[in-house]
């Protein structure tokens, strides 16, 4: 067993932490940094729920030790929003009902992100291949594919998010109680 001081840049922020050699990167992100948007779904690098971007590439963070990430740049699902504005991929998954339970979704989005960064208009087969290392048990993938297509179109400036935000938005009560 050994311990190591590592320095990683995660979602644009530098972190210096001491980790045990065997700590998996996914556990480092989830438990040390509290970034629980990255999930775990298998033991065998099969499911991709833990997919993040390492130096701009999609990788499975369950199959890397945290020490290996020393000096590298990491982006997780938590690093996609720009303030309150969702990334087009996040918007696309909402628009096209690309998620159900949401458990695979961060991994799917992080697998799709490098694709859209290198290909402005991927066809269906290209998208399916890009996410072929990511398992989803809810959707049957069809609406994930259209979500990614929607995001590509949004990045090309061809579509924008529809109607009002359907999230609950709290409005303070109108006035003092009257009786």
């Amino acid at each position: 067993m050994s311990e190591h001081a590592i320095r990683v840049r995660v979602n644009g922020e530098d972190h210096t932490e001491t980790v045990e050699s065997r700590l998996l990167l996914v556990h480092f992100l989830r438990e040390v940094l509290g970034l629980t948007g990255t999930h775990i779904g298998c033991d065998t690098t099969s499911c991709g729920a833990c997919t993040i971007n390492l130096d701009g590439r999609a990788v499975k963070s369950c199959t890397l030790f945290a020490v290996q990430a020393d000096g590298h740049d990491i982006r997780t699902i938590e690093g996609l929003e720009d303030g309150d504005v969702l990334h087009p991929l996040q918007e696309g998954f909402r628009e096209q009902h690309g998620l159900q339970c949401g458990y695979c979704t961060p991994g799917m989005i992080m697998a799709a992100l490098p694709l859209l960064e290198s290909n402005a208009d991927p066809d269906e087969a290209t998208i399916r291949t890009a996410i072929s290392g990511n398992l989803c048990r809810c959707t049957g993938y069809a609406q994930i594919v259209t979500s990614i297509q929607w995001a590509a179109a949004a990045l090309r400036g061809e579509v924008v998010a529809t109607d009002a935000d359907a999230d609950p938005v709290w409005q303070p009560a109108a006035g003092p109680p009257g009786y």
Binding site: I77, R94, H97, Q100, Y103, C104, L135, V169, A173, P177
Partner: protein, 789 residues
């Protein structure tokens, strides 16, 4: 504009796409201890002793707990999800079924490889896993019952010696004089069909976090569960602690599909350890544990025969099927009976006799998972229909159309009982129309020609055809609370949790429809026994039917209260008021109005004055389903089989689907397409394989394959809306329907592609290995590959 019927974006999604979901592994539990479970390495063994000395000496280890340490608290307890047949069914059919029991940890015997034997509690999961490997269990191997066939052999070793045999469930149902029908019919076709053992594997595995409250001694439990209320009840019994002191929450749940509808030993064990150690305790399942120890499903062998006349008319159906139940059919007759009573689908089958036996073996327990016995029924029936059409020399589609029930024949009584003991009466749905629509959308005739042309070039194209019915919205009844808050927001609380079905959106749409309050201002709280104390779980495609109608009833009652309260304030008769744009407005006099926020504040306890609406703008509604309501539909697909690799490519997939009134079409699409993916998985990929020693050979996702994005096409989905007359909303459940025809469809399509060479294919998943084996056997016998017949 009403909210029902709109493909609204989901209110759940902003959290989930930004990584702010809270699944059980994300629940904050400061200072939690972590559990690693020592699981039996033998399928069947006596446990002679457990030596934890070495484990206890390892760093971070707090405790190692075995059955002996727990004493009476270890059980056995009556299994929380086992229940006897409904009295009317018991009276009419009298199914034989044996009560199941549950132990927190295996006591004298381990009964399957993967059964929990001891729990190691440590300050960190890595350390707990280190220590779990240092626990020495002294096993004396016992004879293994590796298959249902072995279990039913006369000299079989017994899983439960007190039973005297290995039969967990047995029953026979029937309609009409089937033996006479078989004698009278022109042709009888027979087939032995096997549906492999499967597991529905949500991507999030199971997990439990239990946190005792230091001050009160109460207990909070978070579990990745479809059944938090049943878990609360089970904890009440096993912990001997009043249920009102136990809060069970199903937080965001990463998929369920039935696997999380059972109450598991670990869900009883972790809270027990938390109470004992007076610390938060956490256990998150690994995928290997999940495949080995969560409930399995399917694994049926059908000996099915069909009697038909030369003109294609079905005279009768006989089926004997055996289920490998593993160590127990922990939901009693749910799966076996559901298979049996769905076997006729929506075909005109005047006589039938169906016999089911569930055998116990040394494998993980079995229970309902997506489809709950219906996929096996569709698999058996649609496969024998294909064989019958071939034997008659009839086109498979024409044969089906000839026997499919038309909408003008509804309601149709199959002459058997549903699982609730009521007559199985299909309540509408245009099954024949679904079929002809699917055939048209598929371009069936064009593909027949394409197939014939392909055969001359050695291309193996196959057409799959399979329909389904699904009894949905099973009792017990459900209730919902709804209230208008002075903030103007509407809060709906219900019992059953969500595992991705989008209830927080669809139930809000239903409430919105009746209250004219926008969905954005409606919040749905679910899956928390402290927020709503009762619920029958999110299972059996029941929530939109049973809970949805309860929400509608509650919303209607709240609307009446709002109008009554506004009537007081505005001095207008409630009948002359309506809710519009956040206010109650007098019809025809828009300036006579009161904002909902103002109204709520005026009549809310603590700040307002009690008027004719009573103590606050709050209502409760419930819905008791009379029995299930049937969804129907038909799937059709084209596949191409590579004869060298045995690989199957799905070229086209058409779904015609009728789940009554659509609340949110986008969500229904998602349920249907996600469902069919699991059906295709059953048909082509998924198989839990055990060896003769009861060891699971497909124990990781590297061996147990589930469909990937590259394995599936984008299907064509056509919705029809035959409203249910069995509930006010007119809805039918949709969660499982998409899965039901998949296995039948894939086997039928591959068998069709191979032609005569496919005659021996009778097992799903129909894998490359099985396909190439069939082709080799055909070639050896001089049978052409890819020629009709």
């Amino acid at each position: 504009m009403g909210s029902i019927g709109r493909p609204m974006k989901r209110v759940e999604d902003r959290r989930l796409v930004t990584g702010r979901g809270e699944y059980v592994d994300d629940v904050p539990a400061p200072g939690a201890l972590h559990v690693a479970i020592v699981r039996s390495t033998y399928a069947h063994a006596r446990i002679l002793g457990i030596d934890a000395t070495a484990a206890l000496a390892l760093p971070g280890v707090v405790a190692v707990v075995s059955a002996a340490d727990l004493g009476a608290a270890n059980g056995p307890f009556p299994h929380p999800t086992w229940f006897p047949p409904h009295p009317p069914l018991a009276k009419a059919v009298d199914p034989f079924t044996r009560p199941e029991r549950i132990w927190l940890l295996a006591a004298e015997r381990a009964r399957f490889a993967g059964e929990p034997v001891a729990a190691v509690v440590a300050t960190d999961r890595y350390l707990a896993e280190d220590a779990a490997r240092a626990v020495i269990v002294d096993y004396e191997p016992l004879p293994v019952i590796a298959t249902a066939e072995q279990a039913l052999a006369p000299d079989a070793p017994l899983l439960n010696p007190e039973w005297g045999d290995n039969i967990a469930v047995h029953f026979v149902i029937g309609a009409g004089d089937v033996d006479q029908a078989f004698e009278d019919a022109d042709i009888v076709v027979r087939r032995t069909l096997r549906h492999g053992r499967a597991i529905c594997t949500p991507i999030e595995c199971r997990g439990v976090v239990a946190i005792p409250d230091r001050r009160s001694g109460d207990l909070s439990v978070w579990s990745s569960s479809q059944q938090p209320h049943w878990l609360r009840d089970a904890l009440e019994r096993t912990l001997r602690m009043p249920g009102d002191r136990i809060r069970v929450v199903a937080p965001d749940v990463g998929g369920g599909f039935g696997l999380k509808s059972m109450v598991y030993p670990e869900e009883l064990l972790i809270p027990r350890l938390a109470l004992h150690l007076k610390r938060p305790v956490k256990w998150i399942e690994t995928r290997r544990e999940n495949l080995a120890s969560a409930t399995h499903t399917r694994d049926q062998v059908h000996e099915i025969e069909l009697a038909v006349d030369r003109d294609g008319t079905i005279r009768g159906l006989r089926d004997r099927f055996v289920i490998d139940g593993g160590i127990g059919s922990v939901e009693s007759i749910v799966v076996p009976y559901t298979t049996a009573c769905h076997l006729p689908l929506a075909y005109r089958i005047p006589t039938m006799r169906i016999e089911c036996t569930v055998a116990v073996t040394n494998k993980a327990p079995s229970a309902a998972e997506r489809g709950a016995g219906r996929p096996e029924a569709a698999f058996a029936l649609e496969s024998i229909l294909d064989e019958a059409a071939l034997a008659l020399g009839m086109d498979r589609a024409a044969f089906r159309l000839h026997n499919a029930l038309r909408i003008d024949e509804m309601p149709h009584d199959h002459g058997i009982l549903y699982r609730d003991g009521t007559p199985l009466r299909l309540d509408g749905g245009d099954f024949r129309g679904d079929m002809s629509d699917a055939l048209a959308r598929l371009d069936y005739d064009t593909w027949l020609a394409e197939q014939a042309a392909g055969r001359t070039e050695g291309r193996l194209l196959g057409i799959g055809l399979a329909g389904y019915i699904e009894g949905t919205g099973v009792p017990p009844f459900e209730a919902a609370n709804i209230r208008l808050d002075p903030s103007g927001r509407v809060i709906v609380s219900v019992g059953p949790p969500s595992q991705g079905q989008g209830h927080q959106t669809t139930l809000a749409q239903i409430a919105s429809e009746y209250l004219s309050v926008p969905v954005e201002l409606i919040r749905v709280i679910q899956g928390d026994t402290y927020a709503f104390p009762s619920g029958g779980g999110t299972i059996a495609s029941r929530v939109i039917v049973v809970v949805g109608n309860a929400v509608a009833a509650a919303a209607i009652e709240l609307r009446e209260k709002i109008l009554a309260a506004a009537g007081d304030q505005l001095e207008v008769a409630p009948a002359d008021l309506e809710i519009r744009d956040g206010s109650v407005v007098a019809k025809g006099a828009p300036d006579v109005s009161i904002a909902l926020t103002t109204l709520a504040a005026r009549v809310t306890p603590g700040i307002g004055r009690m008027g004719s609406a009573g103590p606050g703008l709050e209502a409760r509604g419930g819905f008791q389903p009379p029995t299930v309501t049937f969804g129907t539909g038909f799937h059709a697909a084209i596949v191409e089989v590579d004869p060298d690799s045995g690989l199957v490519t799905i070229l086209r997939y058409v779904v015609v689907h009728d789940c009554g009134r659509l609340i949110n079409p986008a969500i229904v699409d998602g349920q249907v397409i996600g469902g069919l993916a699991q059906g295709v998985g059953n048909g082509l990929f998924e198989e839990l394989i055990y060896d003769e020693q009861g060891q699971l050979l497909t124990g990781t996702f590297a061996d147990y394959l589930i469909p990937r994005a590259t394995d599936l096409p984008t299907p064509i989905v056509i919705h029809k809306e035959t409203r249910s007359e069995r509930n006010p909303l007119g809805v039918k459940g949709v969660g499982e329907a998409g899965t039901v025809p998949g296995a039948a469809l894939m086997l039928g399509a591959v068998r069709d592609a191979l032609g005569q060479a496919g005659a021996g294919l009778a097992t799903v998943p129909v894998t490359p290995g099985r396909i190439v084996t069939a082709i080799q056997a055909a070639r050896a016998a001089g049978v052409p590959v890819g020629h009709a017949g």
